[in-house]
Symmetry: C2
Subunit: 208 residues, 2 copies
């Protein structure tokens, strides 16, 4: 777990120490791991746990939500690099990454606690979505656009909807229905079903 670059602008004073940043983020993670609620966390409590003064925290983050956003970032793993060869395989890799994140969340009380609580804090969830998740969505859109250029994907479905068609079924299982299975091969099955449709293929010798 590494301390991410903070999103907060430097406010004033001495240069920030990355070790202090990391200590503060790890203190917040420790509190969450021990079952603290997102609503119950305070800058004061985090500072105490980290063994620093409140001012030291506020010098780095303007408020609790900005700090929590960096806490969330510290839990991320880099997404897959698209191979650039087959659009289908790149889509499978992206969904497979989502599947593995879903499994990791199920196996980690910390991840589950943090992510589930974030959903209840709309502003924080939106900020997380618009930074961390948006980076992954940008990568996904690039793959989809490439597919439209190579002719692997139709051009008459808009990119946002395309993205939802591929990711929605995986998100539904991984986030909304945590008790459902996330079996191996699910990413391939979703990608192939969305690419080729679930209606029977028209017969090649059909008229018209």
């Amino acid at each position: 777990m590494t301390a991410p670059e903070s999103s907060a602008p430097r406010l004033r004073g001495r240069p920030r120490s990355p070790a202090t940043d990391a200590a503060i983020i790890e203190a917040a993670l420790r509190l969450l791991e021990e079952g603290a609620s997102v609503g119950g966390l305070s800058i004061e409590g985090i500072a105490r746990e980290a063994g620093v003064g409140k001012a030291t925290v506020y010098r780095r983050w303007p408020d609790k939500n900005a700090l929590l956003l960096d806490v969330l970032r510290s839990l991320e793993e880099p997404g897959p690099e698209p191979s650039g060869v087959s659009v289908r395989d790149d889509l499978v890799a992206i969904l497979e990454f989502m599947r593995r994140r879903g499994l990791a969340k199920r196996n980690s009380a910390l991840l589950r606690n943090v992510i589930t609580q974030m959903h209840a804090h709309l502003e924080l969830w939106r900020a997380y979505d618009e930074t961390v998740i948006e980076a992954r969505r940008t990568a996904l859109r690039a793959v989809l656009r490439r597919g439209q250029e190579t002719g692997e994907i139709r051009t008459d479905v808009d990119l946002e909807l395309l993205a939802d068609l591929f990711t929605g079924p995986m998100l539904s299982r991984a986030i909304l229905h945590e008790w459902k299975e996330l079996p191996e091969g699910l990413a391939e099955r979703i990608v192939d079903a969305v690419l080729h449709g679930v209606a029977p293929a028209p017969r090649a010798d059909a008229p018209g």
Copy 2:
């Protein structure tokens, strides 16, 4: 808003009065509407708000979660009746119902507060999913099975995955990304894309 049939078994004593059931559920709704958190609600507080004794509540529901489940049920609307004619149109009607529920949630502080908080209480969410939502999923599965029988839907994709392919994209927008649009026509676009796939259709005159 009507009081639903309670899921709790009758425990003992005089016949239950539906008016009292409704008053208790409406008291819980009022507290939630005023911003009470699901975690902060107590049987005692709900009884006080309803002007009844705690024992009156416990005679109806064994615990807070059972009561909250009935509170959630009271916010439901009946799903669409399948026409039984076109599987495609029945799927559109189901997704259109989800789209409208998503819009209703966005326009209601109460619905948003309740549903968002439920997500943070996994056991309650699961109970809700396994009763209320399961009824809708059963209806969806019946339509999908009919489609497999009529040849409108392939039989080599399992029903659970089929259900996720159709509902996942709508759920992703309606629940996980509340700030995204839910435009008119979205249900049709999702259903047609999932039915026919987003890869270009094979040319009818292609060999093989």
